[in-house]
């Protein structure tokens, strides 16, 4: 049974430096409180895989120097503009970048979920995304006739990390329609989840809730972290904190402003 941790730091203990960490897109439940805790811990050399994009989470981790390799389809703050630390890190060469495209990341995690070494994907041919990915291979479709198709290798994260509305005491996690979280958990060696609250009762035994539940079988540790996605949204629970995002975009535009942001919102444990 998964550990219902006493603290965020206890739950996050398995996320060591150098690991391949998978995280979801902005609107699917991003573990932001956990992200701040990892930065406070001074984690280094992460290989971050976003499913399939990221916003504040990737930008913060990059700015704080936690990322060695980034594998993503896009990083941006959306309505709040470009992701400043991401852009700066790419321009300065501070991180190793693996540009992908959304369905490729989904397919690579699905390959790991299914225990197959690769998945095929249409598209990609003639794109420079493919040209810069020597780890992706083009073959002639054995069912076709002069029909090139790209094969993408399975991607197995060391750890998947996300935030969800609730978990029960057996560690079953309600993820609703955010089913990419299920794929992430199936694909990853270990899965760590922060939740808004503990649900009394068994999520798996309620026929309505079971459909949106990831079994505790796939989960290593859970920490309760109210408003744990803040300032990002949690679907059906709270929206994005627009004022905060605008403040971030403004501060993170310079290294000095970013350092100020960290002091104010990360190291002070304001939201941990």
């Amino acid at each position: 049974m998964p550990l219902i941790a006493q603290s965020l730091d206890e739950a996050l203990a398995p996320i060591a430096g150098g690991r391949l960490l998978a995280v979801p897109r902005e609107s699917s439940g991003v573990a932001m409180a956990a992200t701040r805790a990892l930065i406070r811990r001074g984690i280094k050399r992460l290989h971050l895989v976003t499913l399939p994009t990221s916003s504040l989470q990737a930008d913060l981790l990059i700015g704080a120097g936690c990322i060695e390799t980034l594998e993503t389809s896009a990083v941006s703050l959306g309505e709040f503009g470009p992701a400043p630390r991401f852009v700066a890190a790419i321009l300065s060469g501070a991180i190793k970048m693996r540009d992908a495209t959304c369905p490729a990341l989904h397919a690579q995690l699905q390959a790991a979920e299914k225990g197959v070494p690769f998945m095929p994907l249409r598209g990609l041919l003639g794109s420079d995304v493919l040209a810069h990915r020597p780890d992706w291979k083009t073959i002639d479709n054995p069912f076709g006739n002069n029909d090139p198709i790209v094969l993408l290798p399975a991607l197995t994260p060391d750890v998947a990390l996300f935030h969800a509305p609730m978990a029960d005491r057996a560690g079953n996690v309600f993820i609703g329609t955010q089913r990419e979280l299920v794929v992430m958990a199936h694909a990853a060696q270990r899965t760590i989840v922060t939740v808004e609250k503990i649900h009394d009762g068994d999520l798996l035994r309620d026929p309505r809730l079971a459909a949106g539940t990831l079994a505790g079988f796939y989960v290593e540790a859970i920490a309760v972290s109210p408003r744990g996605a803040w300032p990002l949204p949690l679907p059906d629970h709270y929206g994005i904190d627009a004022a905060h995002m605008a403040e971030y975009a403004r501060l993170a535009a310079t290294p000095e402003g970013f350092a100020q942001y960290l002091d104010r919102y990360v190291y002070e444990k304001r939201a941990a």
């Binding site: 399939p52 321009l91 989904h106 003639g126 794109s127 329609t177």
Partner: protein, 248 residues
């Protein structure tokens, strides 16, 4: 307001016409004007087409996670999608990645998103870029996030049908992989379009003016569409339609 309208309203109206009579329009991230156009098409169609707005809870039928959009497109069930580019070139190639050498770029954009797949499999991809300049519309993109066309043996059921900018509408000729000026927006001119476009394109002898949105369209946009957009694009709706953002 009578005959006056905002640029965003004209562009939404233009895009809405390009959407045409289809079953399902999907709109990706950070696309407020295409989202406006898709919801306008739905409002005009009395609920049809289906519209999927990425990031919306109210305007989506997806329940299979973030991959469903791509699976749905792979099934041939996404009829229209929108793509943009930090650079777009004469052949319809789009660049969402970087300017200059990829290894040592001079500028970096967010990334390719789903373009390296959706551009190939969605029958009607509408390119959309408000900034119409020689910086954005270039002879050749520095990085091909997704190509405007593919060799005959490459599986490709989709591609660009046109490009909408703040100055004009281009059609795209897939066989020749070339843009053709279809209309210039009210207040803009052909010479201006030529001056501000970094690539060569075809044009008819007489280039029509893009029709202005009708009073009915403007009313639909302002009273029906704008409130629906506010969930995903609160800042946009506040700015363009003066509709207050919904409380979180």
């Amino acid at each position: 307001m009578g005959d006056t309208f905002r640029d965003e309203e004209l562009l939404a109206d233009v895009i809405c016409r390009l959407i045409g009579d289809v079953r399902h329009v999907a709109v990706g991230a950070q696309s407020p004007i295409p989202a406006t156009a898709a919801l306008l098409a739905q409002a005009r169609g009395g609920g049809s087409p289906y519209v999927s707005l990425l990031g919306s809870r109210a305007h989506t039928f997806f329940t299979d996670g973030a991959r469903e959009l791509f699976d749905c497109a792979g099934q041939g069930r996404v009829d229209v999608f929108f793509l943009s580019g930090g650079q777009i070139d004469s052949e319809g190639n789009i660049n969402l990645v970087s300017v200059g050498d990829y290894a040592h770029p001079k500028a970096r954009f967010p990334g390719s998103f789903g373009s390296a797949y959706l551009y190939y499999v969605v029958p009607k991809v509408i390119l959309f870029r408000t900034e119409h300049s020689r910086r954005t519309l270039v002879p050749k993109v520095d990085f091909v996030s997704a190509p405007g066309g593919s060799p005959g043996n490459v599986y490709r059921s989709g591609g660009p049908i046109g490009l909408v900018t703040n100055r004009c509408l281009f059609d795209f000729d897939r066989a020749r992989r070339r843009f053709r000026l279809a209309s210039v927006h009210p207040g803009h001119g052909v010479a201006e379009v030529i001056d501000n476009t970094g690539f060569d394109f075809d044009r008819p002898t007489h280039v029509p003016v893009t029709p202005a949105p009708s009073a009915e369209t403007l009313a639909l946009l302002r009273t029906t569409v704008a409130p629906m957009l506010a969930e995903v694009y609160p800042e946009f709706v506040k700015r363009v339609f003066n509709v207050p953002a919904p409380s979180p």
